[in-house]
């Protein structure tokens, strides 16, 4: 393999909430795909031993004293890698739905300067249709229209949390990431701040163990909350300190 990024300091941040069944395999996979990368697992108030397992799998573990939400957890990881001055930051979900094997494509795009932020999308042309429910598909279609409109660029998979970003984008998000539904907001915020965001078709896996944190009966409320949040992201004050 001859990649431009082999000489760069790469950090992988993985927010995890009760992912004891998935986290060790994920950390090992990342280690195989990008040997030498710093893997930071944020154990966000898990009641199982996610943090302990991640640590013995070789990850650095950050442990907020209680659950601070996925946005808060990711932001904690971003703060750390910004302090430590890593060049490229990768963000994966702790449930293992983002296959590490897809990282190099996104990483190449950022290391080559093709994009400031490369995001894995399930719905980009060329991608395989993922096994998700009809209702979820409608929700994602709605969000992608809304987010495309507000971000001023085509967004096919607004809820994807599979990000590879450069140092500047990581610093920006470490200041501005919203606490509750960070991915959708981030698309609007990044485009407002002038970052070049590109989506790449990637496969994603259904979660292996445990249950997703978004249940069906909350879906409607979820749609309303995220819509409000993303509309606010359009006009919210951006912090650059």
């Amino acid at each position: 393999m001859d990649h431009k990024w082999t000489s760069l300091h790469i950090a992988v941040i993985i927010p995890a909430f009760n992912e004891a069944g998935n986290i060790a395999a994920l950390v090992q996979e990342v280690n195989q795909v990008i040997p030498g990368a710093k893997i930071v697992v944020i154990d966000d108030g898990s009641s199982d031993n996610t943090g302990q397992i991640a640590r013995s799998a070789g990850a650095l573990v950050l442990t907020p004293p209680y659950n601070i939400g996925i946005g808060g957890a990711v932001q904690t990881g971003l703060k750390l890698v910004v302090i430590e001055g890593d060049d490229i930051v990768i963000r994966l979900d702790g449930d293992g739905q983002h296959p590490p094997i897809e990282i190099p494509r996104l990483l190449d795009a950022v290391a080559d300067g093709e994009a400031d932020v490369a995001i894995g999308s399930r719905f980009c042309s060329g991608g395989e249709a993922p096994p998700i429910s009809f209702a979820r598909r409608i929700g994602i279609f709605f969000f992608s229209q809304l987010t495309s409109l507000l971000a001023g660029q085509k967004v096919t998979d607004p809820t994807s949390g599979f990000y590879v970003m450069d140092k500047k984008a990581a610093t920006f998000l470490s200041h501005n990431l919203s606490q509750d539904y960070p991915e959708v907001d981030a698309r609007v915020l990044l485009s407002r701040a002038g970052f070049r965001v590109t989506e790449y078709a990637t496969k994603m896996r259904p979660r292996i163990h445990g249950v997703s944190s978004i249940t069906v009966w909350r879906a409607f409320y979820y749609v309303l909350k995220v819509s409000l949040s993303v509309i606010v992201a359009r006009s919210r004050t951006i912090s650059s300190e």
Binding site: K79, V82, I83, G85, S174
Partner: protein, 165 residues
């Protein structure tokens, strides 16, 4: 308004004022947050002393049933108080999140530091120095953010105390 009714309203406002005041005195109510409650209580007191205010306002806005002005007034005060509470709640949620984040970051740095100290005690100076980031690795507090957020809260003479051991 009947005299009895005025008296009840008067007592209510006095009761509210005394309650808020004693809560402040006992440290259960921060004065800054109590201000709105005082405004509300004094407004009720005002209505008890000058009940003509209500029919006057009713005429002013063309309200047919003057007592509804009193209700509208009460609801208005409650809305303001609730808005205020939500603002405080959101602020606290944000501060709480930041506190948890800084806790996690500091804990991480402490564990790292403890690792270095252990190596010092074990006489493994070379590794300990390497790990502390003086070599190829960027030192953890080289970034601007670190010097602002975290390093400032740590004693600056950590290195000194290390060499003394």
């Amino acid at each position: 308004m009947s005299v009895n009714y005025r008296f009840v309203v008067f007592l209510t406002s006095i009761f509210l004022i005394i309650t808020v005041w004693s809560l402040i005195k006992r440290g259960l109510f921060r004065p800054a947050y109590a201000l709105l409650w005082f405004f509300g209580s004094f407004a009720i007191l005002l209505l008890a002393i000058f009940p003509e205010i209500i029919p006057f306002v009713a005429r002013l806005f063309g309200v047919d049933y003057p007592p509804s002005v009193a209700f509208a007034f009460g609801i208005f005060i409650l809305i303001i108080l609730l808005l205020n509470q939500t603002i405080y709640l959101s602020t606290f949620a944000r501060l709480n999140k930041e506190l948890a984040q800084n806790y996690a970051l500091l804990q991480y740095r402490l564990e790292k530091l403890e690792g270095i100290v252990k190596q010092y005690h074990a006489g493994d100076f070379q590794n300990a120095q390497l790990e502390s980031g003086s070599g190829e690795d960027k030192p953890i507090d080289s970034g601007e953010a670190a010097t602002q957020d975290i390093s400032g809260s740590l004693p600056g003479d950590i290195n000194l105390s290390l060499t003394q051991t």
